[in-house]
Symmetry: C2
Subunit: 174 residues, 2 copies
């Protein structure tokens, strides 16, 4: 699939075709895309939980301020940062900046790879981190930074959300 079409085709998909599962080979392809992201000093401060268990999905939806659509996706990927992996080399800048940026780049790759695979997904950031950690019994060195439901979209994708105009967010220094 053409790169620019994938880029323009990405939407936040929040309703999924409940009849159609996502084969594990395709999930693997999404994860391989995620780990192609660059990371500061190639630390790769990331970890991914692939959740198919229904009660775990429901616990995540609850941690995400009752966003129940989460639990209707066949697969929910919880992306975690490992801040101390970046801090070893970069101290606080690694802990508070690089580990968040690196995982965010991985998430964006994952979302684009979902589009290129005919899937829909959504970056959910609004959740209680402690509750989400409890839901998956996360080890304390991992910080959940996004919950990403993945599935085949239930309907034609919505319109893309508006963007601020380029001239409002760009300045040239000649």
């Amino acid at each position: 699939m053409d790169f620019w079409q994938v880029l323009e085709g990405r939407r936040s998909v929040r309703s999924f075709n409940g009849e159609r599962d996502v084969p594990s080979e395709i999930v693997t392809r999404l994860l391989q895309a995620a780990i192609r992201a660059p990371s500061a000093g190639n630390c790769q401060p990331w970890y991914f939980f692939v959740v198919r268990n229904q009660s775990a999905k429901r616990a995540l939806a609850q941690a995400a301020l009752n966003q129940w659509f989460l639990s209707e996706a066949p697969v929910v990927i919880v992306v975690c940062a490992e801040p101390e992996r970046s801090a070893i080399r970069y101290g606080d800048r690694g802990r508070r900046l690089y580990s968040l940026q690196d995982t965010a780049a991985a998430i964006e790759n994952l979302l684009l790879a979902a589009v290129a695979s005919g899937l829909g997904a959504c970056w959910v950031g609004a959740f209680d981190e402690e509750e989400a950690s409890l839901a998956l019994d996360l080890p304390s060195h991992l910080r959940p930074v996004a919950i990403v439901p993945v599935g085949y979209p239930a309907r034609r994708p919505s319109l893309s959300t508006d963007r601020r105009r380029l001239d409002a967010v760009v300045k040239e220094i000649e």
Copy 2:
């Protein structure tokens, strides 16, 4: 260009063909790719400085702990977060997490769009934020989060850096 090829073809490019400029239409295309990134509540907490001025590029290279290769790129894009734009709606989570994630997703889009345009680029995160702000006379509401030199690569791209194996960074919860 095929999405998967773009994804696999991305490298950190640190040496540029000094003879070949990057047309402004192509820079615009990269920025349009950047702003296609998702953002929490569609806040779009980003701002981009497109730097072609030689003394500004040198000042940025110096702020980046003397990474002089920066100043050899025809174009240097400084990506800024606007943390308070996300904080209005999301408080501290917007300020310290979403605004960093949203700009990181935009940077990843920009890097991939560079590959799809035959360009090379590099995500530089190691710099003194205050010095970089001074170099561009940034307004205080903008926080520089990455410096991205962009140009045509001087040579065939290097090998991709190693990745941790998928089974070391993924756990399935069935």
